[in-house]
Point group: C2
Chain length 364, copies 2
């Protein structure tokens, strides 16, 4: 077997040219005589790597100068704790929208720190859609409004034009872990964006944080250094040793994305990939049933069911034999899930759609 069709939900498929370059530079990066893993994080070589990654990110996503870019550790789970500790004043509260397993986890973690209001929840509908703006119960005094732009496990995503709007003056916070850089978005709308890298940006172990600088004024004294946005921003992610190799890989992924035309181009490709799978579901006459409501379908994680768990197991098993891996749904919700991130080639989606049609023909 060469390379599989990788539908993993994260860590996930990486662009082949990125892996090839990492392979070729493994023992000697540039003319350094070292692997990137063996370099000081304060060396000229690594400074160039991290500065280029930041510059490419700023140009790809259109990040204005009044935002800090940080490469941290601990994944979204650490951000769930950091955001409220840095940004909710002692006597304040924050609004959260609960759209799935990750929205819920963010709320649970934030509640350890202070008062959290749930502005909307779709839990009673088994998280099959995102709430409309009109359905939000918003506090105009909230420290911020937090939402999850794409729910990896339930496969629901905010359409770009339907993301929530907070009351005037309330910063918008977004866990963008699973759809960042998959379509254009206006950074200026947000106070804070964070994303674990392991879906659209690189390997696990790096967390991207984009923060509007005026919010740094809220950071209280005496936070642990590694949880302190101010320390991290002022030291440009180099207070201590960052995950150097992960940042290098993220930088290579950004270069790949730039070369193919940036987020506008990848958005078209992502749209086409997801459309192909959803069409197969919709054309199946009920053999495949999508979990998400049509207006909230994720372009990144396509969740669907078959008539029985037995058939779902059979699907997962037989697709794996055909070199398609990661199609089993998350253990907490069952069913099937195809993750179709930026780096997933169109050929993989083609192979999946063909397999789905064939599987239906045999088992329908």
């Amino acid at each position: 077997m060469d390379r599989v069709h990788n539908f993993n939900a994260g860590p996930a498929v990486l662009p082949r040219p990125v892996l090839e370059r990492a392979r070729d530079e493994m023992l000697n990066y540039g003319e350094s005589g070292m692997s990137v893993m063996e370099m000081s994080h304060r060396s000229a070589h690594f400074e160039e790597i991290i500065n280029t990654a930041e510059a490419d990110l700023r140009s790809l996503l259109g990040i204005p100068e009044n935002y800090s870019v940080m490469f941290l550790q601990g994944g979204a789970t650490l951000q769930f704790a950091m955001a409220p500790r840095n940004l909710i004043p002692a006597d304040g509260s924050a609004d959260y929208i609960n759209t799935g397993a990750w929205g819920k986890a963010a709320i649970k973690e934030a509640e350890k720190r202070g008062r959290i209001r749930v502005a909307a929840s779709t839990e009673k509908d088994n998280f099959n859609h995102v709430p409309a703006q009109a359905a939000l119960d918003l506090d105009p005094q909230a420290a911020y409004l937090h939402f999850t732009s794409n729910e990896t496990i339930h496969g629901v995503e905010y359409p770009a034009e339907a993301e929530p709007t907070p009351p005037d003056g309330v910063p918008l916070l977004c866990d963008m872990s699973s759809n960042i850089a998959s379509r254009p978005f206006d950074v200026k709308k947000y106070g804070l964006i964070y994303a674990g890298a392991q879906k659209n940006l690189g390997p696990s172990g790096v967390t991207l944080v984009i923060l509007r600088n005026d919010l740094l004024e809220r950071v209280p004294a005496k936070l642990p250094i590694m949880l302190d946005y101010k320390q991290m921003a002022e030291n440009k992610s180099l207070y201590n040793t960052p995950p150097t190799f992960g940042i290098y890989m993220l930088g290579l992924v950004l270069k790949w994305l730039k070369a193919l035309g940036g987020v506008e181009e990848i958005a078209k490709r992502n749209e086409a990939k997801a459309a192909k799978v959803y069409k197969t579901i919709d054309d199946s006459g009920g053999f495949y049933r999508g979990h998400a409501r049509a207006d909230s379908r994720s372009r990144m994680n396509i969740t669907f069911r078959l008539q029985s768990e037995e058939l779902e197991k059979k699907f997962a098993k037989e697709s794996e034999k055909e070199g398609m891996i990661g199609l089993k749904g998350h253990r907490s919700v069952g069913g099937l899930r195809a993750s179709t991130y930026n780096a997933l080639p169109a050929e993989s989606v083609e192979a999946l759609a063909q397999f789905m049609a064939e599987f239906q023909r045999k088992n329908g």
Copy 2:
């Protein structure tokens, strides 16, 4: 240029066969059809990687069953915050020994959480030695006694037989970041050991934590998940997505260490490497002056000075031309520093000793 002589203080040199294997497996690990970076952290392949790393670590270091092994993120700096938050009771205090930049940083971070007593400090001697047991002012009621077994920046190290002994019943905590797995040590002496991987164990972005399980009972409620030893231990480092590639690299380093004879064998090699450099210093008639007192010399980071900063700069510059990198001392203390971790080949030390003799001949 092929590979340099890498005297970096961390991130640092890795064993060449480890890098070669990572290179060869970059696009297809085993028969998986994926890079390790593209695997689910809950896949059978990755489970085998993390379980093998833990098993190899347990056998190499002799870690008893009543200790948990965790692969976390955030480096020693996050451990500086985690240890006091998890292990000092609300009304308690802890003892710290201050032997250098890292011991001091641990104290500063712990003081944000609660009462800290400094059991000894060598700061007035510019951190040129480790304090004797008799010099410690120990609190028999302390929540724990914390020390740093090797100070990377000042180049002082506790000899194995001179590590501090806490009062009966007081757990011993050790920041072992820069000398773990460099010599045999008795895990049973410690309540908690932690180490950033980027010196002797692998790349940056992974932090090893070894914790005696009875201490888990002290962990208070409502800690952030990523700072909670109990959550991390119970979930075997898989509460959320761990730094999968870093853990894989650490596993490869452990296999390399096992194959060459384990910590007993590497200890002999480390001893011989350090002895060679210190002998060059001692034989130089004062041209080179070691920073650490003879009884506290580090086998991992050899710090020394020349007669002038100008000469030190010349040394750093000319050695780099000869393919020896990382010899400039830390920006906070100046001078020169040769880091001689496990993976540094004897040939590199040989080259350094020759260069030192030649440099003295020309400039002495």
